[in-house]
């Protein structure tokens, strides 16, 4: 392991002060399940971060709570805390489902939702679910706080627009009403310890048997996770049916190819994302 210094601030304010001074040469560690793999991969003699700052114990980043219609998930919440949270299961079941599929128990016990977001992997499990929840990211620096739509913080794979002095403190989203339909489906090569080959998160609202609102966020389909508006549009104003869901799946596949271009993996991903989307819609409708 390459050398670095380690600091464990006692409060968020202390952490932000430290980052304000040293942010450029610092890596933030929360769960560490991505960062330690990265640090291990730096060859001997090559430069790594000067500092690693540990935010895993900060009480300000913990907790899952509701504020009016909003659900606030502290960025330091582990996947275990998310997927076993009664509040999340009730108000955002697709997020609970996504957190439950991350890695294995050892990862879920320590890896955080904040880490999953800030690692900015195109294959992150919770990000499509959060995007389908129209979640916002709460970023804090010594100077203050900014709240951005989550989908807007990704710059490119493995990079967000967070400044070196910023910490993601929470994600927040409006609770799904009880009648909302949602699902998260994941395809991995294995049934555990698997990175998403592809995944899909969907939310549907129905009024009088007709889809009034639809959100579709596929994972591992585009360089940055985002919603697929063309496919959503196909659903709106329609009665749910197998044909409709297939059509939406096909639209997702087409949109993926539009955005990502034809790549070596497209022959596989194209039909599969269509199938996964249709499946997610089916599962959502079935409840």
């Amino acid at each position: 392991m390459i050398p670095f210094n380690f600091i464990r601030p006692a409060s968020l304010a202390e952490a932000l002060d430290f980052l304000a001074e040293n942010g450029e040469r610092t890596e933030i560690i929360a769960g560490g399940t991505d960062l330690l793999v990265e640090l291990r991969g730096i060859p001997a003699g090559k430069k790594g971060p000067k500092w690693v700052v540990d935010i895993s114990g900060l009480p300000e980043l913990k907790g899952i709570r509701e504020e009016g219609e909003e659900i606030i998930v502290g960025s330091g919440s582990t996947h275990w805390e998310v997927h076993t949270s009664e509040l999340i299961r009730e108000t955002a079941p697709l997020l609970a489902a996504a957190s439950a599929t991350v890695g294995a128990a050892q990862h879920r016990n320590i890896a955080t939702i904040g880490g999953n977001i800030m690692n900015a992997s195109p294959a992150a499990d919770t990000v499509p679910a959060l995007i389908a929840l129209e979640a916002s990211a709460v970023l804090r620096s010594r100077e203050g706080e900014r709240v951005r739509p989550l989908s807007g913080i990704f710059v490119k794979p493995y990079q967000t627009d967070a400044a070196p002095g910023e910490i993601l403190t929470a994600v927040r989203f409006r609770r799904l009403p009880a009648e909302a339909k949602s699902a998260f489906v994941k395809l991995g090569r294995r049934n555990a310890l698997a990175i998403s080959r592809m995944n899909a998160a969907v939310v549907l609202f129905l009024r009088d048997g007709v889809i009034s609102e639809a959100r579709i966020a596929p994972g591992s389909a585009t360089p940055m996770p985002e919603r697929f508006a063309a496919a959503e549009k196909i659903l709106i104003g329609q009665k749910p049916s197998e044909e409709l869901f297939r059509a939406a799946g096909a639209a997702v596949a087409a949109e993926m190819v539009d955005r990502s271009g034809r790549r070596w993996s497209t022959p596989y991903k194209e039909p599969v994302i269509a199938a996964l989307t249709a499946r997610a819609l089916r599962e959502a409708l079935a409840g």
């Binding site: 392991m1 380690f6 464990r8 560690i29 330690l36 540990d54 128990a105 016990n109 320590i110 310890l193």
Partner: protein, 163 residues
């Protein structure tokens, strides 16, 4: 690289140490405390051989910096048995042929112990989920699952609270 001060409890024993800031929990246990029952198989949290219990939960000790464990409690395989008396899970692994080469065994037993700690009567599916971060190339997991089932069925004393 400045050494950091660290107070941690391992297997019920309090330690005050000064360690390198880039030390992983795995290295702390193996190199500093000579607890070599915790194994390294991949270094990236994909095999589970380095699993220990941190504040009651199974974690990969290769993915945690020692410094992150300040003030926390760790149980390793060495801390599971009570002197000569084996933990019911250890005994069950012997009784059910769940051990072959033994390299995954410490981590596997600790994952199972953390499961039973939280859920004393797991289903087979729950057992498989709980140990799915521990790779085993010898057993095909069959006898391991049976051993955990058998240990779970054992008298509901408070042994699993020991972790």
């Amino acid at each position: 690289m400045k050494k950091i001060k660290l107070d941690i409890t391992v297997n019920g024993v309090k330690h005050s140490l000064k360690v390198d800031p880039n030390l992983r929990l795995l290295d702390l246990l193996r190199e500093e405390l000579d607890l070599t029952g915790t194994k390294e198989g991949c270094g990236i949290g994909e095999c589970g051989a380095c699993t220990v219990i941190l504040d009651g939960k199974a974690v990969n000790s290769c993915l945690i910096l020692a410094g992150q464990c300040a003030g926390r409690e760790i149980v390793t395989i060495e801390g599971l048995s009570d002197g000569e008396k084996l933990h019911p899970l250890q005994q069950a692994f012997l009784d059910h042929g769940a051990v072959q080469c033994g390299f995954c065994t410490p981590g596997m037993i600790l994952s199972a112990a953390a499961l039973l700690h939280a859920n004393p009567a797991p289903t087979e599916d729950e057992i498989r989920v709980a140990i799915s971060g521990n790779l085993c190339r010898c057993t095909g997991y069959t006898q391991i699952v049976e051993a955990v089932q058998a240990a779970a069925g054992k008298d509901k004393g408070d042994w699993w609270l020991q972790i």
